[in-house]
Amino acid sequence: MIPLYFLMVLALYGAFLYAPTEREMGEVQRIFYFHVGAAWNCFLAFFGVFLGGVGYLITRKQSWDHLAASCTEVGVVFTTIVLVTGPIWARPIWNTWWPWGDPRVMTTMVLWLIYVAYLMLRSSLPEGETKYKYCAVFGIIGFLDVPIVWFSIRWWRTIHPVVITSSGAELEPEMIHALFVAVIAMTVLCVTLVMLRMAMRLNSSMAEEVTDAVQRV
């Protein structure tokens, strides 16, 4: 926990004080560090959902379902961060809150819809193997759908800035440092949150077992 606090403070310092103000965009560009940090972690978390789903269907061990469920919750939170920070930046820069033609914006939105639907499916199924199985199946389809959504929207034209290209990042060195720290901090935050949620699930299923055992006695 302590390294996480340290990293978050460092990331805030990097984004707001260390990195220079962008010449064209001004102060609003500083949102970029957390926007990118959150966006990368969405994919990381949703990959965790996919992994948890496959793991559960193969081994039928509940811990895999814990992983998938926790990753979905955290992933949805991070996707929400991306979808909130994006428009705040886009309004002054692109002069629109929501550019419908952009593949990244659209894909992120569809991602959010898919995994919120996953959480709804979870909460509407009674506890048990069927629930874990259905959620695993939906988590797998959802993740497979991500590249398909991307390609489907791609042939609409894109206006999203491509910051990191194959020829290297088009950013000031200070900006790259700040981005680097922000991405690391957000990743540590994401992993910590997933682990906390998993521990919570494990504890609650253990508590249930104890309650059952006591009731039987």
Binding site: L57, I114, V137, S152
Partner: protein, 225 residues
Amino acid sequence: MNPIALTWVLVGKDLKIEYRSRQAYLTTVFFALLILVIFNFAFDPGSPATREAAPGILWVALLFPGIIRLNRSFQVEMEEGTLYGLILSPADRGVLFLGKFLANWFLLIVVDLLVLLAFVIVYNFSFSVQLLWIALLIVLSALGFSAVGTLLGAMVSTIRTREVMLPVLLFPIILPIILPAVNGTQEILLAQEIQSLGRSVELLVAFDVIYLAAGFVLFDYVVAD
């Protein structure tokens, strides 16, 4: 019994059920027509703006009745507990999926083509060879729609709130099918010359293959109990 014959038995069963309870099927068609009419009133009837929005309206009128169709597909199995009968039968799970999927696909195409017919009349488009292209888009998108829909329909059939859960789960997943279908339709109906229709069809075919394969593989886990 070989798998192909078995699949046809299952398809025949579903079609027979729908034929004997025509009421439900006709209600679905009627619902689709209602959507067309309501949109015509929501926009200014006969105005250029309505014409511009027409391809989108057509797809709304195709998608929402599709949900009703899919919900019904497993509802009839649940009512008399026949789904358990099917699962207990020696038939392979893949065959079960194909049977349900093919029946849904066929029944969807029939509703959709009737809707297309009504759409052309209500929205004053002319009957031409180009409508065959829209029919092709409909057939292809109905394929992906029923593939994912059959899988998810089986999943939500036991949930109390299944009527609303199915669209919530299905629509975000099949968005990649809706996009090329709507774009293709727009091009056919409104564009001066056709440029990217071939691309739309290619994308639809590719996505259909992926969805069908995913449905076929994952259905095993959904019904195995």
